[in-house]
């Protein structure tokens, strides 16, 4: 692997910020893996829920969100690392509100399905 160019930008940051950024990346990765596990479990074990199509759409949606999050967590880690090194403010990201919206929507649909079934 070649030395990334951004790693020469700016100055070495406070070690606590670098470690916190690494932990944040890992926390996002775990969030993605948890969403994925939720989607797969929903499809494998919620066999009583109807209509089946909605279950498939929900589980597929959770899988797609997990895939997007895995990429986003890396790009965000990189963006934050560059911002810390160059002393710029951390970039704003829509991931957090978007993830909250996905969770809200998924739980709302699941609650309706559980009540109807």
């Amino acid at each position: 692997m070649r030395e990334p160019k951004w790693h020469e930008e700016g100055h070495q940051p406070d070690y606590r910020f670098t470690l916190a950024n690494e932990r944040t990346f890992l926390a996002w990765i775990r969030t993605a893996l948890a969403l994925l596990a939720g989607g797969v479990l929903l499809h494998q074990f919620a066999t009583e829920l109807d209509p089946r199509l909605v279950v498939t759409v929900l589980s597929t949606g959770l899988g797609v969100v997990a895939a997007v999050l895995s990429v986003v967590s890396y790009t965000r880690w990189r963006g934050n690392e560059i911002a810390i090194r160059t002393g710029r403010p951390l970039p704003f990201s829509w991931v957090l509100p978007a993830l909250a919206a996905v969770c809200l929507l998924t739980s709302a649909v699941l609650v309706v399905m559980l009540l109807v079934t």
């Binding site: 470690l19 990346f25 775990r30 494998q44 498939t56 895995s70």
Partner: protein, 112 residues
């Protein structure tokens, strides 16, 4: 990446330890998804999903290894701050692979 290391500062917030533990938790989460993928593969009789599960078990093992390296790097008198080369990309790729496997498991073999 130029490796950046510092003398151990005696951080009362235990940030080095928390970072090393975060790697172990991540490895465990990958292992859970490996199990799920294997189960889906066996139930649906899909060799591809079983292979994805095996691959994810390997990824989980790799994450355990990175966690061990990281724990060594983050204890003692000198802390290595730079994460192991390629480790973050590797974890992100493993998660992407897991997601693709998970989506495939939804569409393979219909309902169990």
């Amino acid at each position: 990446m130029a490796v950046y290391s510092i003398p151990a500062p005696g951080d009362p917030a235990l940030q080095p330890e928390r970072t090393a533990l975060a790697w172990s938790r991540t490895a465990l989460t990958i292992a859970i998804n490996a199990l799920l993928s294997m189960r889906a593969g066996f139930v649906a009789g899909d060799a591809g999903l079983v292979a994805v599960g095996a691959l994810l078990f390997a990824a989980s093992g790799a994450a355990v290894a990175v966690g061990t390296v990281r724990r060594r790097q983050l204890t003692g008198h000198r802390l290595v701050i730079t994460p192991p080369r390629g480790a973050l990309i590797g974890v992100a790729v493993a998660t992407l692979l897991a997601s693709i496997g998970g989506i495939a498991s939804i569409f393979s073999g219909g309902t169990s």
